[in-house]
C-alpha cells in the first residue's frame, strides 16, 4: 500500500517535471541544505557565536582555513574582530533570515488570500475598497512600504522592548508590504471560480459563503498562491537583508545575514574580506536558488504552458 503510493507520487506529473529539470533539482537541494543548516544550527555549527564563554578574543581576524597566529586554531571561513567563527555566525544568521522570510510570507499569504477571497467572492463596496487600497499600495515599492511600516511600528513598541521585538516588527513590516500580490491573484481566480457550476451548486445546497470560499474556491486557487509564495520568499529574504543592512532591521544582538553584511562592510578597507564575502555569498546563493525554484514552479503550474 505504502509502496504503491510512493511510486504513484514518483510517477506524478509534478515530480516527473522536477526530475527533468536540473535547475530545479540543484536549487531544491541547495535550499534544502541551507534550510537544514539553519534549522539545526546549534548542532551543525562548530561554535555558538552568542555564547561569550566560547569566544577567545585572541582568535580575532583569523584568515579562512589558516591556523591563527596566536592560538593555532583554524576556522573554515575565518573569524571576525571578536574571534567569532564566521561559518557559525552565518548559520545562526541564516536562521533569523529564513525565519523572518517564512513568517513574513506566511503573514502576507494569509492576509492577502483572505482579503482576495472576500474581494472576489462578495464584491461590492468591501471588494472595491480592498482592491483600491491594494492599487495604492502597489504604486509604492514594497521595500519602501516595509521601511515605513517598520519605522511606525518601532515607534509604537516600548523603548526597552525594541531590540527584542525587532524580529517580529520586521516580519510584520515585510508581510504587510507584500500581501497585495496574493490578494490580486486570488481575487482574479475567485471571480472566475465563482461563476462556475460547482460553486453555484454548493450555494444552492445552502452552504454558507465562508464555507464555499474555504472548502470549494480556496483549493482551486492554491497553485498560483504557491508560486507567488515561493517568489515572495526570495523577495522577503532580500528585503530583510536590505533592511538589516541599512540598520533598520535585526539588531546586532540577533544578527541576520543582512546585519552580518553590514558588520562586514566595516572591515572592507582593512583587508578582512572574508567577514563580508561569505555572508554576502550565502545571501546571494539562498535568494537565487529560491528564485529559480519559484520560476520552475511557475512554469510547471502554469496551465497555459502545458
Amino acid at each position: 500500500m505504502m509502496e504503491s503510493r510512493l511510486s504513484r507520487a514518483w510517477q506524478s506529473d509534478f515530480l516527473w517535471s522536477f526530475r527533468r529539470s536540473p535547475t530545479a533539482v540543484v536549487s531544491f537541494f541547495v535550499v534544502l541544505v541551507l534550510v537544514l543548516g539553519a534549522v539545526f544550527a546549534p548542532l551543525v555549527a562548530p561554535h555558538n557565536p552568542f555564547d561569550p564563554s566560547s569566544l577567545n578574543l585572541m582568535n580575532g581576524f583569523s584568515k579562512p582555513m589558516q591556523p591563527n597566529a596566536f592560538t593555532g586554531e583554524a576556522f573554515w571561513l575565518g573569524t571576525d574582530d571578536q574571534g567569532r567563527d564566521v561559518f557559525s555566525t552565518i548559520l545562526y544568521g541564516m536562521r533569523i533570515s529564513l525565519f523572518v522570510g517564512f513568517c513574513a510570507v506566511l503573514f502576507a499569504m494569509v492576509l492577502g488570500v483572505t482579503l482576495g477571497l472576500i474581494a472576489g467572492y462578495s464584491g461590492g463596496m468591501v471588494g472595491t475598497v480592498i482592491m483600491r487600497i491594494a492599487d495604492v499600495q502597489l504604486t509604492f515599492p514594497a521595500i519602501l512600504v516595509a521601511m515605513l511600516i517598520f519605522g511606525i511600528a518601532k515607534g509604537f513598541t516600548p523603548v526597552h522592548l525594541r531590540d527584542q521585538m525587532a524580529v517580529w516588527v520586521l516580519i510584520f513590516a515585510i508581510g504587510l508590504s507584500d500581501w497585495v500580490q496574493f490578494a490580486r491573484v486570488v481575487r482574479g481566480a475567485t471571480l472566475v471560480e465563482r461563476k462556475k457550476d460547482y460553486v453555484q451548486a454548493a450555494s444552492l445546497n445552502g452552504r454558507k459563503a465562508v464555507g464555499i470560499m474555504l472548502r470549494h474556491i480556496l483549493p482551486n486557487v492554491v497553485g498560483p498562491v504557491l508560486v507567488i509564495a515561493t517568489i515572495s520568499l526570495a523577495l522577503a529574504i532580500i528585503a530583510e537583508a536590505t533592511l538589516s543592512f541599512l540598520g533598520v532591521g535585526a539588531p546586532p544582538t540577533q544578527p541576520s545575514l543582512g546585519t552580518l553584511i553590514r558588520i562586514g562592510q566595516g572591515f572592507l578597507f582593512s583587508g578582512e574580506w572574508w567577514i563580508l564575502f561569505f555572508p554576502a555569498t550565502t545571501l546571494l546563493v539562498l535568494a537565487l536558488s529560491v528564485n529559480l525554484l519559484g520560476d520552475w514552479l511557475r512554469d510547471v503550474l502554469n496551465p497555459r504552458l502545458r
Binding site: T139, P141, I143, L144, M147, G151, K154, L246, G247, L283
Partner: protein, 327 residues
C-alpha cells in the same frame, strides 16, 4: 479625455489625503508630542498650556485639516533629533538626492535603450548573449551588494574613486551642487551606477522584448521590401513603436529610483533625503519620517499622473473620441 483627466487628478488627490492621514496619525499617536517637547520638570499647567498651543485639545478632523494645510505650505514641525524645522533640513538635503537620481535615471535610460536595441538586433550574437546573461545577474543582485562590490573594486582595490560622500560642493544660494567640481563628479560615479543599474536592466529587457515583437510585424517586412535603408527601418519604424510601453515603465521607474536612493545613499553615505530618512527611522524621529512620507508620495503620485496623461500625447489611438478610434 477631459473626464479621464479629472478622474485621475481626483484619484491622486484622494491618495494624497490618505497618505496625509497616515502621516498625521504618526504624529498624533506614536509617542506623546508633549512628552517629546517638554523636559523632566514640567507642571500640569505647562502641559495644558502646550496642549492648547499645539491645538491638541481640538477634535481630530480639525487637527488633521490643520496638519494638511501646514504640510501644503511646507511646514512639518521640528525634528525631534536635530531640533530644527524639518522643512529646512529637507531643503538642505534634497539637491543631493535629486542630482543622484537624475544622473542615475539618465544612465539607465541611455544605456537601457541602447543595449536593448543592440541585443534585439544582434539577437544571437555572442555580445548580446553575454549582455543578457549579465543582466540576469544584475537583476538578482540586491542593490546594496552591487554598491559594496563597486566600492571594493574601484575604491579599495583600484583606489580610483571615492567610496563615500559627495565630494566638494558649490553653493548656489538655494542649491548646493556637486556637478561643478571634479571631486563632486567623481563621487557621483559609483552611487549613480549602483542606483541606475537595476532600472537599466529592466529598461533594456523591456526594449529588447518589445523590439523583437515589433520586428516581427508585417509593416517592418513591408518597409524592408520597399527598399528602405536598414537604419531607417530599425529606428524610424521599429523603435518609435516600441516606445509607448517603454515610456510608461520608465516613468514609473523614476519614482522607484527616488525610493531606492535610500539604499544607495546609505551604502555611500550620500548626504541626501534617503539617508536622512533611514536615520529618522533609527531614532524614531517622527516629524522627519512624516515629512519624507509626504514628500515621496507627492513625487510618486505626480509621476504616476504625468505618465498616465502622457499616454494621450504619445499614443494617437487614445486621442480624439473613442468611436473614431475603434472604427
Amino acid at each position: 479625455m477631459l473626464a479621464f483627466v479629472i478622474r485621475r487628478v481626483f484619484q491622486s488627490f484622494v491618495v494624497l489625503l490618505v497618505v496625509g492621514l497616515v502621516a498625521f496619525s504618526m504624529f498624533r499617536f506614536v509617542g506623546d508630542p508633549i512628552e517629546n517637547m517638554l523636559g523632566q520638570e514640567r507642571t500640569g499647567a505647562d502641559i495644558e498650556r502646550l496642549r492648547g498651543q499645539l491645538g491638541l485639545d481640538q477634535p481630530f478632523p480639525v487637527q488633521y485639516f490643520k496638519f494638511l494645510t501646514g504640510a501644503a505650505q511646507g511646514n512639518f514641525g521640528v525634528s525631534y533629533r536635530q531640533g530644527r524645522p524639518v522643512a529646512d533640513i529637507i531643503a538642505e538635503r534634497l539637491p543631493a538626492t535629486l542630482e543622484l537620481a537624475s544622473v542615475s535615471a539618465i544612465l539607465a535610460i541611455v544605456f537601457g535603450l541602447g543595449l536593448g536595441v543592440f541585443t534585439a538586433i544582434r539577437r544571437d550574437g555572442w555580445a548580446a548573449n553575454t549582455i543578457m546573461t549579465l543582466s540576469l545577474v544584475g537583476v538578482s543582485l540586491p542593490t546594496f551588494l552591487i554598491g559594496i562590490l563597486l566600492i571594493y573594486l574601484f575604491a579599495v582595490e583600484l583606489n580610483m574613486l571615492p567610496s563615500f560622500g559627495r565630494g566638494e560642493v558649490v553653493d548656489l544660494g538655494w542649491w548646493r551642487t556637486g556637478f561643478l567640481t571634479e571631486s563632486g563628479l567623481k563621487a557621483l560615479i559609483l552611487p549613480s551606477i549602483t542606483l541606475g543599474l537595476y532600472q537599466m536592466t529592466l529598461i533594456m529587457r523591456l526594449v529588447r522584448s518589445e523590439m523583437l515583437e515589433v520586428l516581427r510585424q508585417d509593416y517592418i517586412r513591408f518597409a524592408r521590401a520597399r527598399g528602405l535603408r536598414e537604419k531607417s527601418v530599425l529606428f524610424r519604424h521599429a523603435l518609435k513603436n516600441t516606445l509607448v510601453p517603454v515610456i510608461t515603465v520608465t516613468g514609473l521607474q523614476l519614482g522607484s529610483i527616488i525610493a531606492f536612493a535610500i539604499i544607495t545613499e546609505t551604502v555611500f553615505q550620500w548626504p541626501g533625503v534617503g539617508l536622512l530618512f533611514i536615520n529618522a527611522i533609527q531614532f524614531v524621529d517622527i516629524p522627519v519620517m512624516a515629512a519624507y512620507l509626504m514628500l515621496i508620495s507627492v513625487m510618486f503620485v505626480g509621476i504616476n499622473l504625468i505618465v498616465d496623461l502622457l499616454y494621450f500625447v504619445i499614443d494617437p489611438r487614445l486621442r480624439g473620441d473613442s468611436s473614431k478610434a475603434t472604427a
